[in-house]
Subunit: 359 residues, 2 copies
């Protein structure tokens, strides 16, 4: 068996953190993987030096993950074609707006037998008002290969600090899943694999909408129990949504890191929560608060809420998703944030379910 070549596409904060893991695991499993791991770097100048050259001499991404060593066998490559040449495993870890352009460039150059794994959270911009599309679907269609996903409650700074964290890999194929587990699983980065890849991926997008609701609750001054009720109702809508659009979903997947763990972290610590808390307190436009609070990063929640809203409205499903609907209407200024609780008070979760429960 020849060793497989792993290429990392992306070298931001998350890409650099994951490069620290992959650089070590490929050596640990050197009969499975090639030791040299090319990492595509979007070239930019840092203090008059090329970022790729800094990474290859200092072995630190001084711009996006300062102070953390990247193993020397991870090699920064500014040319995308060169970085991905002969790759058997393509690790996608770029901002989601770059996916289409990258795949367009890669089209036709990737081995038939290659697989990709996407670490990108969010929805495809090709989503329509009747169907959301997953980023993994975009990659898979454009490159003609299988795409797995890795999601979970794992923010780059904690992973880069070697803190104990978890992640979930979702993959259609068992052999791909087990190979990817080898590539990512370490003493401090604990991986579970599931087959239900669509649930894994879409949880990562929908949780941001629930985090907006949690932020409203915080901003309105409600306590822990109100927030817990909101998070729970949000989770119920996530489950309904995924069950409706992906009927093969397994309820167990929601108990993985990509499910409740990531949801809870995002609702207590994430940036969507933060922006929406500030929105509820100040009533200032969300895009202004993003600039001020997130220093150029964006909050995906309001955008995802808008996309969800279109899909559920077009399909006449608004009654099933009062929390998603309310988050969207509040974010666009159609409903005052003070009305939020009123919009979820008669949630379908509270309807009589005795036929289902008592048997």
């Amino acid at each position: 068996m020849t060793q497989k070549t792993v290429a990392i596409i992306g070298s931001g904060n998350w890409g650099s953190a994951i490069a620290r893991i992959i650089g070590n695991t490929v050596i640990q499993h050197s009969s499975t993987f090639q030791e040299r791991v090319p990492m595509w770097v979007f070239e930019e100048m840092v203090d008059d030096k090329k970022l790729s050259e800094i990474i290859n001499t200092e072995h630190i991404n001084v711009k996006y993950l300062p102070g953390k060593k990247i193993p020397v066998n991870v090699v920064a490559v500014p040319d995308l074609m060169e970085a991905t040449k002969n790759a058997d495993i393509l690790v996608f870890v770029v901002p989601h707006q770059f996916v289409e352009k990258i795949c367009h460039q890669l089209k036709g150059t990737v081995k038939d037998t290659a697989v990709a794994v996407s670490l990108i959270k969010g929805l495809s911009s090709k989503s329509t008002n009747t169907q959301l599309r997953l980023i993994s679907e975009d990659i898979g269609e454009m490159l003609g290969i299988d795409v797995a996903v890795l999601m979970g409650a794992n923010l780059a700074p904690e992973v880069a600090n070697d803190n104990f964290c978890e992640a979930t890999i979702g993959s259609k194929s068992l052999s791909t899943a087990m190979e990817l587990k080898k590539l990512f699983h370490t003493d401090n980065f604990r991986i579970n694999v599931v087959q239900d890849f669509q649930t894994v991926e879409i949880c990562g997008a929908l949780k941001n909408v629930v985090a907006c609701a949690a932020g409203f609750s915080d901003g309105l001054g409600y306590g822990d129990n109100t927030k817990a009720a909101i998070i729970r109702l949000g989770l119920m809508e996530m489950m309904r949504f995924i069950e409706y659009f992906y009927p093969n979903t397994r309820i167990k997947t929601f108990f993985e890191s990509c499910g409740i763990a990531d949801l809870v972290t995002t609702c207590y610590g994430g940036r969507n929560r933060k922006v929406c808390e500030a929105f509820a307190k100040t009533k200032r436009p969300i895009h202004e608060l993003e600039i001020e609070l997130l220093k150029g990063q964006s909050a995906q929640g309001p955008l995802t809420a808008a996309e969800l809203y279109e899909v559920i409205k077009t399909r006449d499903l608004l009654k099933m998703f009062p929390l998603f609907e309310a988050v969207h209407n509040i974010c666009i200024g159609q409903v005052p944030v003070e009305d939020f609780i009123g919009k979820i008070r008669n949630h379908p979760e509270y309807e009589d379910r005795s036929n289902d429960e008592f048997h």
Copy 2:
């Protein structure tokens, strides 16, 4: 149909908060319930006046829920027998150490057709080293009646403030469940009913052990993702434990307020988290920290961990529950808190589950 008499047994912080709800719902559903609701008060003197008399004149429990009006149809009664005379629904809301004595007094005086509902969180002190016992089982056995439970992410102060909160009622019988829903469900206190009463009740005890683990994580300075991983592993052990001892449990029950919602609230805001955070930081004995931080209240988590430990050890199940085991061993000083992550790193959750997942 004659109206049913509701008696509230207990008038502490939680009892008084729930009396505010019941006092209103019995009037709203006056064809179902008697309007007069006796509430047993453990008599004590407050500023030279009897607490029961203060409640019946000022309609405020000045000692345990100051500033909040209790409806006038809730009548404080210092005599337990008088308070429960002819009761059709007995609402138990007392500290768990009083249950046995109260049931002993009530034995033989309760109608055959009566039902009880327990709002008491914790385990029975009659638990043995082979089997945990539920408080509802104690009440049911001693009084010879059916016992339902009401649990969830609902702390008395928030419920008393009429904040939006949820609760779960677990009841064997559909008719009891629906009647209790009438008694508790309001615009701000939203009730779901399930049949799986044992899961509802035991979640309320086990979550405190997980909250100890979350407190260790906070005290050791770990971040959001480590804490999310710990909470998730704790939830998995709760589910394993309940599935093992109560094989009829339904996974859906964990998605109710009594499950993940209560767990999350407790792991972010509860007193077990607080004491165990302080323990990890200071290494001072837990009973000292309780006195200092909880002003006389106790943290149930370490006690429940000790009871769990006996049961799982006796049955040779320690390997399935490394988090529960570690919490107990750390609380009793057998294992340094710094070793906590080491004890859960190879959790059975991370074992190869491909046979189960890929089909």
